[in-house]
Point group: none
Chain length 406, copies 2
């Protein structure tokens, strides 16, 4: 990644920035609720008190019309271009499973399958075995197929037939094709290097040895007597917050995936005592002296949106609002409240809609709106800001950027 | 053209999208009419009924301050970058004349001129001969200068001294300089390959043979005794709507130019029974079962704008509005009403002003405005959208795009 104009302007300061992410915050007006959105319908006296002196706007996570996954959505908020900065599926899966990835690690999504006597995959999901069975079989694989050559295979069970495999050892490459036929009725294809080179070829060799041994270890099992692996990817190395922005960054998130992406961005990781904003803010308080950038993640808004539960989403927003005074008591120089993407309750999933955002600080430009919600954000100071540019605006508000040119 | 993020996300669906283009729709507030624009002044009860539940915005066809021609304006609406996607002048002229272009064809703008005994061009426009005379002379050329080597010269007369020449044969190139001195008092320069290579050299050779023969065929004529040709360009090959977006696209336009550009984009072409929106909608109804993307073109708004006729423009908009219920009765999943550029009546020509746009669909974000016009569009959901990004937003609204990243 080339050094950007932004990074060349970074100057040190003692100011503190808080990025409070309400996952999937953005929503749509609901005809059944007077065309209000959950953010609009929620009672938010503390956000309302901030709104008039805040700058409002909307973030575009990737590009118009594009619905981001959690990885690209957060990478953009952390100042990375989400199209240029690719994090592989295997790496995201490992991070989401709470596995710590070291430099050089290669991660893959894996799952149990059923294979017949002729080596043909008859069920790619092994009858969707229960998670308990999956954990039992993963333990068996770990014991019997845990190391090949000088490479450890680190496994973690997931839901149903799914698990994660991390290859840890010297000289591994991540550009390797799937050991997965992607449909029933075919044998497991051997993994192969997608880009020639010793590192990718070593990974392919280890994967193929693992898949072969797995079938031996699982021989007596039914229906899960085989393993597939796909989405191989190496843990990427990004220049971190400290190098790029001279920020000691703390990521405070209850869910492993978000800590994982923050780890890739070079943040220190903290697990709050609970899933709510109150617990995240308590952790921020504890870390206040040692950090100057705080990423606080609240998952509940996204979960309510995915469930199509408008009222639950509004309730999570109200709980965040109720916790806000404790955050404000820490007196951050710059506070930003936003989301990584929209998850409208009516869509029951992530969407492409721009994400409402609020920036509060001494020099933010007070937009003068009475409340923070999607509609006011359309007319705010930063009505259409790429998410990847948000960090620059926060750094500017925190007096951490020098003038460009004379 | 590289495969973009967008194209990698396309998923199939059965939803239908209508893109209703009112050519040159955007306009300026008129001091003589209470500072209203034609779109604002028009009585549009049907658009008014859609407006509150629609998302409004403004499209930027090329870049700020840049006035687009019809080619770039439409290519952008069709999802192409109008700067990267170049369609030569000759090709646009041929499409505008309703000539069908085949792969490998090279087209040029041509015109009759006057040359003296020494071969000097004395009038580049041959005294602006009437169109009837032009047609007569083109027929003469077609008979006497219609084929060189293995290349057919397909000619079509235009207005006044103008005509179009299409070279059709194997191994032709489009990077060829003009056979036109561009000013009086000089001889006709021979066409020459702008990029070395047999294909361009063959085109130049054929063109020079044509220009020489034309002078012989026209020897007795006065004042039109010579032919010039410029703007050589090969019919470009773009990946089409079906390949790029899995859309069966229908272009319904009374004027050949717009069908021509739509043909380049890979749409099926239909000629409505008349120039109005009502006829275009009737054709859409006939094609409804066989297509899932409908580009409907209405020319009248642009013509009224070019004429500086505010009231005529408002009247065309009212006629579109009156026809709208028949379109809505087809129940498109996503409807977009916009223009390819602005043609303000006070400018009497194309302009650089952003173009008002309305998107209606289940998940469009209901902006809640009472009417669709330029002023409300400034504060709408997509207040500043590049025209080339519109299609992504329409695809998203039609649930035809997968999530980007995990």
């Amino acid at each position: 990644m080339k050094t950007s104009v932004l990074e060349s302007l970074v100057i040190p300061n003692t100011t503190r920035i808080v990025l409070l992410v309400l996952d999937g915050l953005g929503d749509l007006p609901d005809p059944a609720r007077g065309m209000r959105t959950p953010l609009e319908a929620a009672r938010t006296p503390n956000l309302d008190a901030l709104a008039p002196s805040a700058a409002l706007g909307r973030l575009l996570p990737v590009q118009p019309g594009v619905t981001p996954g959690s990885g690209p959505g957060h990478l953009a908020l952390f100042g990375f271009d989400p199209v240029e900065t690719v994090v592989g599926r295997g790496v995201l899966e490992a991070l989401g499973a709470g596995m710590e990835l070291k430099p050089g690690d290669v991660a893959a999504r894996a799952n149990f399958c059923s294979i017949d006597a002729g080596g043909i995959v008859t069920d790619r999901r092994a009858g969707r075995i229960p998670s308990e069975k999956c954990a039992e079989l993963v333990a068996k694989l770990a014991a019997g197929a845990g190391r090949f050559e000088d490479v450890d295979i680190v496994l973690k069970p997931g839901k149903g037939h799914r698990f994660v495999a991390v290859l840890r050892g010297p000289g591994l490459g991540g550009d390797v094709g799937d050991a997965d036929p992607h449909k029933e009725g075919k044998p497991i294809p051997p993994a192969h290097a997608l880009v020639p080179g010793a590192a990718n070829e070593k990974t392919a060799r280890i994967v193929n040895a693992f898949v072969k041994r797995a079938a031996e270890v699982l021989k007596g099992e039914s229906p899960a007597n085989g393993a597939l692996a796909r989405g191989f990817s190496a843990r990427p190395h990004f220049p971190g917050y400290r190098e790029r922005f001279q920020l000691r960054a703390a990521a405070i998130a209850a869910y492993p995936m978000y800590r994982g992406v923050a780890q890739l961005a070079g943040m220190d990781l903290f697990v709050p005592a609970g899933e709510g904003a109150a617990e995240a803010i308590e952790t921020a308080k504890q870390q206040w002296a040692d950090h100057d950038f705080f990423f606080l993640h609240v998952k509940g808004t996204d979960m309510a949106g995915e469930d199509g539960n408008f009222d639950a989403k509004a309730a999570v927003i109200e709980a965040v609002d109720a916790a806000l005074p404790k955050l404000l008591a820490l007196a951050p120089d710059v506070l930003c409240v936003t989301g990584d993407h929209s998850t409208p309750a009516s869509v029951k999933g992530h969407s492409w809609h721009p994400v409402p955002a609020l920036i509060h600080g001494k020099w933010c430009f007070a937009d003068g709106f009475s409340r923070f919600h999607e509609k006011n954000c359309r007319g705010g100071s930063f009505a259409n800001l790429a998410s990847k540019d948000l960090l620059a605006v926060l750094l500017a508000n925190a007096a951490r950027l020098d003038k460009y040119g004379a």
